[in-house]
Symmetry: C2
Subunit: 464 residues, 2 copies
């Protein structure tokens, strides 16, 4: 990481690292567009009122004030002040409502932007990071098949990042109605409270969560154990999910036919559809995992988290869910489903754990040497011809000794050095080009020469 | 513009408009990379101390405060608070100093990011906008040829935007030392003050600037007239520039041999080099225009502004210059030269004046129809095969009547609709694809069919 990470939580990459991040961004964008998602960008700021409406991250907002207002910030209520967005879902909801008349629904959009969270700095937590989101938002209603398809788009995007050092990813899905119905059938009413505690399972373990459910959510020990038993259910198909759930209901004396059990079954059916639907297209990519709770409280149906094989310590690298009530305008609702990749954390893993590195720092495939400053125009003209043919070219900064010029190219990883004819090293009258790795040097024509296709572009390789 | 521009000065584009902005960003990035510039991204925030160091925009900074700190913001001095960057040059200087040990110099970098200025909202002024920058920064010294080459890279990037509705661009160059030497030779000492007033010429006219020079900068009327006469000098080559300047010196009794005249001549030589050097490579692209002053006071040599033929009312759309003292570490200096395109304003012009619009909103070239929800898997499989061949594909949101499905594709501008075989409209057993503009429909094989190359990708066209 750049030493420039001199403000804690605000990462910056060195140029060679940025090549990897840029490649990740370009790759996921390409997958999103192949799938017909439409790119938008929203402003970085929202009103305090909009940011504070939903979700527990409301406490982590950065508010803005103009320098001229310093000292008078608090004359304006927080709701009317501007703050930086902490995700891309809240801005999307606002954008959809404001522009509903101009959009075609269902509106499939991708968005890759920075978000900011004013958290206390702690290890591995970024205060500024890049998110890569896809969402589908309906006008009034939204077909359930998107709850199967969207996690699969993310899986195919993550699959494309495997050559950059990303381990295999598995989406873990749950359904809020399944959890809520079961909790209520157990006799619990503080559903949000229970979800909040269950969300801490990976961090603090079952014993502590049990204690919290009793202390904070009014659960008996038996009810709390029921919540934990539900959270321990996993399944790779709908049948397994169903039988596991039935066994649990039997154990806790939950009878069918009640409204609570009906709600749970609704969620169960939706979750079975997600897991079975995904298995038909990409077996093993999505599993049912009933401990998935999600911190944000705007989710109403499917919820997703994604873990990397052998890198579970990273936590979920791609999360989301279905939200039916986030956006509305009068009686009109805009239900949506979406997932978000926490891209900066992924890039950090690729760079520092998987050893991803750029084949070169410079995008240039060739550096044109300069024999003396009076012939710089000739070198520039050669570079310009190469560029017009789509070959990225740099020109030596100085007409210094040849060794120094080659050293500059070498430090940037530029694979070829071009020697203009007039004063070529051997006094020849044709241009020559040298492969500075092999040392191979041969005559070349600027209107037809092409770099080896393998080295023509920056690529990412893994250290072994 | 999206109605979502509901916060004054924070523009947002509709999806069709975003296609144009994205194309502009992709195009200038491609040109920057073809020229061997290295992409970096810096964090959005800097310390107040860093932001307040230079430049008159210091008054337009947005400061941040965490929500938890509301009410206690002023316990922290402004210098220690965080603020959003107002340009990409100040962050670059900081990045270069912090990472100097890891960079190869001269460091050629491109950077396309949002910047924020907390200005009072006024017509056409954005508070959040995208800048596209290139800079070259040296370690200790920086060859002068970059002062010729960088404006030309920008000209070639702007040239590539002509098909998107951008008029021809001309770079107007000046040199700070030329102006300063001349002002001092006239007997003026408040050089920054004079530059600040001269910078207002286009806005308020010569008469008012003359009055301000007298009132604010301690100039006599004759001295002020000298400054205005210098500002009215333009030339398309070094010889013309020299003779114009000599005539001016004669008129104001400025003799050669003095330190002030020497400084002016230094600047004159540098400016002549820029104009003549550019003319050899791209005639007419760079002219000498001695009224160019630039608001930011970190420039020390060449300064540039860029105007569009017939759209001068936009002001400069690409500005910059050489700065020798912005970045330093102990005795070590990092001189740089760079230019910045104000990209959001350009996009606004293309959309609203030039009539640029996207050939379609969706990146998808084809939409696969769905005969009934039970056969959605088959439609998804077809789309997946097309995507694996690099053809962007969407799938109909619902198995509604065919007319409704085609209407969805049509609204998004998707040019082809794919009919899966099993239940093709005519009961046939082969897939068919329809061009929904011509109505032409024919059998197609998902493993070999290709869209017409003209409509395979989103393109930008101009309304006539």
């Amino acid at each position: 990481m750049a030493k420039g990470a001199s403000i804690s939580g605000f990462p910056e990459w060195l140029p060679s690292e940025r090549v990897v991040e840029q490649k990740v961004i370009d790759t996921v964008r390409e997958v999103f567009e192949l799938n017909g998602f439409i790119g938008i960008e929203t402003r970085a700021v929202e009103t305090g009122a909009s940011l504070l409406k939903k979700g527990e991250t409301s406490k982590e907002i950065y508010l803005l004030s103009r320098l001229q207002e310093v000292g008078a910030e608090n004359d304006t209520p927080v709701a009317d002040r501007l703050g930086l967005h902490f995700d891309l879902t809240v801005p999307l909801s606002r954008y959809v409502v404001e522009n509903s008349g101009s959009l075609t629904f269902p509106f499939k959009r991708w968005q890759i932007q920075k978000v900011w969270r004013g958290e206390r700095p702690q290890e591995g937590r970024f205060r500024e990071f890049v998110q890569a989101d896809i969402d589908v938002v309906g006008n009034g209603d939204l077909p359930a098949h998107y709850e199967v398809e969207l996690p699969l788009v993310m899986v195919s995007a993550l699959e494309r990042l495997r050559p950059l050092g990303l381990p295999q990813a598995t989406v873990h899905a749950n359904n809020r109605r399944l959890s809520e119905g079961f909790y209520r059938a157990l006799g619990l009413t503080d559903v949000e409270g229970v979800l909040r505690e269950i969300d801490k399972l990976d961090k603090i373990g079952a014993a502590e969560v049990l204690a919290l459910l009793v202390a904070e959510c009014g659960a008996t020990e038996d009810q709390a154990r029921g919540c934990l038993d539900l959270a321990s259910l996993t399944a790779t198909d709908g049948d397994g999910l169903r039988s596991g759930f039935e066994a649990l209901c039997a154990r806790y004396g939950i009878e069918s036919g009640t409204a609570e059990h009906g709600m749970a079954l609704e969620g169960l059916d939706a979750l079975a559809m997600v897991v079975d639907g995904a298995a038909r297209i990409r077996p093993g990519s999505v599993v049912a995992d009933l401990k998935i709770a999600r911190g944000l409280d705007y989710y109403t149906g499917s919820v997703y988290e994604t873990f990397l094989d052998g890198a579970e310590q990273l936590g979920s690298i791609c999360s989301g869910g279905r939200y039916d009530n986030l956006a509305s305008q009068g009686a009109r609702r805009y239900p949506g489903v979406g997932l978000s990749i926490g891209l900066s954390r992924l890039v950090s893993y690729m760079l520092h754990t998987a050893g991803a590195h750029a084949s070169r720092i410079s995008p240039a495939a060739v550096m044109v040497a300069v024999w003396d400053e009076s012939s710089r125009d000739a070198s520039n003209a050669i570079a310009q011809t190469l560029r017009s043919r789509g070959i990225a070219a740099d020109v030596s900064p100085k007409a210094s000794k040849l060794g120094k010029q080659i050293h500059y190219a070498d430090r940037l990883g530029i694979p070829y050095v071009w020697f203009p004819a007039a004063a070529a090293a051997d006094g020849g009258d044709r241009d020559e080009v040298r492969d500075i790795v092999t040392g191979d040097q041969r005559e070349a024509d600027v209107t037809s020469w092409c770099p080896d296709t393998v080295v023509a572009r920056q690529t990412i390789t893994l250290e072994r």
